[in-house]
Amino acid sequence: MMSKETILLVEDNADDAELALLSLKHISGDYHIQLVTDGEQALEYLYAQGRYASRPIEQKPALVLLDINLPHGNGLSVLQRMRASAEHHQTPVLILTTSDELTDLVQTRQLGANSYLQKTVDFRHFTSRLHQELNHWLARAS
């Protein structure tokens, strides 16, 4: 494969998306960051449908950063669809959320999320956690 590997970022809030992109700027490795802003778009991208129909389906994203609170189908239903299909059964998924509720954590784990990342107010802390997680899952995937 000549093209760069992709990280799919699913985030509806433009500010949060910008901050996430800023955090991702300094990650090791060369990745194309694909941003989608709702669950429907996320699924279209993942399965090369609708506006992403022309995308070669065999190029799976290396990792998905998934916000839970999304318009048009929330993050959890996207996760469910992924885990139910052969294509994305194994694709690493990191959940992004402001919640630190134990129940939310347990639920995403049960649905097959690989990790759970709280969007803390301390941005430096968030960035370093994000880098740790990405290093871990991307190293494993490659």
Partner: protein
């Protein structure tokens, strides 16, 4: 006569009347016995008299007839003899007469027999017939006279029949009369008394018993019975009245009590309904508030995070370009956002303390406190802090909430003992106004008792933020947990000499206290 008719009409009653029947039987028996004895005696006397008369008559034969019979026999004049013998036979009761000539020196002695001699029921008498000759008396024959007793017996029999008949009638009449008298004097009144007693109903305030007795002006046993019964009746009536009054009073009491009970029950139902309604309203409000807190905390966090995120970018990108003053502003923005973030976290903790079910279980307070202390102490390893916990402390509480509670209280103690070179924290159990309560005591900064009421209010602080960090949520959370257990918490302190927090998980009634004590000893 009327009474007699009534008496006779009551034959059937009499036949079943035990007194009458027994009386009649006794009278007839005794009277018959007496009659029988008297009759036997009389008959015996009569018999003796008749026998005596016959004997007298036979004696008379000797004096009246013997001389002439002797002469006739001497003269051998049979016709004359027969005439005289007929004369004898005419005497009452004499049945047969015979003359036998003495056969001593005569070839054909003369024998004349009149009538028939029988062997039974007869008295025989032989008379020697003598002849007075010159040479003295000479036995010439024998005269035999037989008197029959048949007459005597038949007269006796007639008498017996007559006596028995008359005595029988007499006995019957006398018995009847006595029965009538008994009936008039006793039985009729006894029956009346029996009827009266049978119909006697003490609830009816009955008329006194009175017997129907005419021309009665003396006091007899029946009057005594009637008097005694009437006194008894009076006493019964009085006793019954008293009982009825008592009963009425009791019934009124019962009625009043039942009414009161119903009222209480009604009020209880209303109260219960109201409590149920309020509880569910409260529950709904609580749930709403909890979910409100939850979403507010989350929704507040997101913009705060953006502020901090972009501030960080600004700092990273152009910190060197900014004047010191602006760098200081960036620093203040960071401090503000982090403080607010902590407050939101505490706020979430507080709201969690109201959420979730309460599951009480026995908790080893001593062990829990020591374990938590080990963890908390590691945060400030350089400090000299000592924990003293009473052994075998037990509580009946929710484990999750208990951990939250004891953590908060211990963090508090550790925080406020920071100015002391040697910090000491004690945890134990003591009696406070008769109730067993836990306490946690420190030798730290303490607080002014004038502000004790504000101690547990959310976001309230008794110390300056520069002295001791914190959001003012910890003790509010503690109090929320205690009140969810139905318990109480309060504190006593002297500034700079430390503070003591007292708490119990349930305001105990006697039973609870006993159970708590049992758990405590176990």
């Amino acid at each position: 006569m009327h009474s007699m008719g009534k008496f006779l009409n009551r034959g059937s009653t009499l036949s079943s009347d035990h007194i009458g029947r027994r009386l009649l039987f006794a009278i007839v028996l005794f009277s018959s016995l007496v009659t029988l004895l008297a009759t036997v005696f009389q008959l015996f006397i009569d018999f003796q008299r008749d026998i005596g008369q016959i004997k007298t008559r036979l004696d008379d034969v000797q004096s009246s007839y013997l001389a002439s019979i002797s002469a006739s026999l001497w003269n051998l004049d049979p016709s004359h003899l027969k005439l005289q013998m007929e004369g004898i036979r005419q005497l009452p009761d004499v049945e047969a007469v015979a003359i036998y000539e003495d056969p001593a020196d005569i070839a054909e002695p003369l024998t004349i027999v009149l009538g028939e001699f029988t062997q039974q029921r007869a008295i025989n008498r032989d008379y020697a017939i003598t002849h007075h000759a010159a040479d003295g008396e000479r036995h010439i024959g024998t005269l035999r006279v037989q008197a029959s007793l048949n007459g005597v017996y038949s007269r006796l029999w007639e008498k017996l029949v007559i006596i028995l008949f008359t005595q029988g009638i007499k006995t019957f009449l006398v018995s009847l009369f006595i029965l009538f008298i008994v009936y008039r004097l006793i039985t009729t009144h006894l029956v009346r008394i029996a009827q009266y007693v049978n119909q006697f109903d003490v609830a009816d305030s009955p008329e006194p018993l009175q017997l129907e007795r005419r021309n009665h002006n003396h006091h007899d046993e029946l009057d005594q019975v009637v008097g005694a019964f009437n006194r008894l009746s009076d006493n019964l009536t009085q006793a019954y009245d008293r009982m009825r009054q008592a009963n009425d009073a009791l019934a009124r009491d019962v009625l009043a009590r039942r009414k009161a009970e119903e009222e209480v029950r009604y009020l209880n139902t209303i109260l219960e309904d109201r409590v149920k309604q309020r509880t569910s309203e409260l529950q709904a409000a609580n749930d709403e508030l909890a979910s409100f807190c939850y979403s507010v905390s989350h929704d507040l966090r997101a913009p705060l995070r953006r502020i901090e995120g972009f501030r960080r970018m600004l700092e990273d990108d152009c910190n060197e370009l900014l004047p010191d003053q602006s760098q200081h502003y960036l620093g203040r923005i960071e401090a503000g956002t982090l403080e607010m973030s902590e407050m939101i976290d505490s706020f979430l903790h507080l709201s969690r303390a109201t959420l979730g079910e309460l599951h009480r279980e026995p908790i080893d307070v001593t062990q829990q406190a020591q374990q938590l202390f080990t963890v908390l102490r590691e945060r400030e390893p350089e400090r000299d802090i000592c924990l003293v916990v009473q052994p075998n402390l037990q509580a009946w509480a929710d484990k999750r909430f208990f951990t939250m509670l004891i953590t908060n209280l211990m963090e508090n103690a550790i925080k406020y003992t920071r100015p002391k070179a040697h910090a000491q924290i004690e945890i134990g159990q003591c009696l406070y106004q008769g109730q067993s309560v836990f306490y946690i005591r420190d030798n730290g900064a303490g607080f002014d008792m004038n502000y004790a009421e504000r101690l547990f209010a959310p976001f309230s602080r008794l110390h300056k933020a520069e002295e001791f960090e914190g959001t003012g949520i910890g003790l509010a959370t503690v109090q929320r947990i205690i009140s969810r257990h139905g318990g109480r918490i309060w504190a006593e302190s002297t500034p700079n000499k430390g503070a003591t927090f007292y708490f119990c998980f349930k305001e105990s009634t006697k039973d609870d206290e006993q159970r708590d004590n049992t758990v405590g000893r176990g």
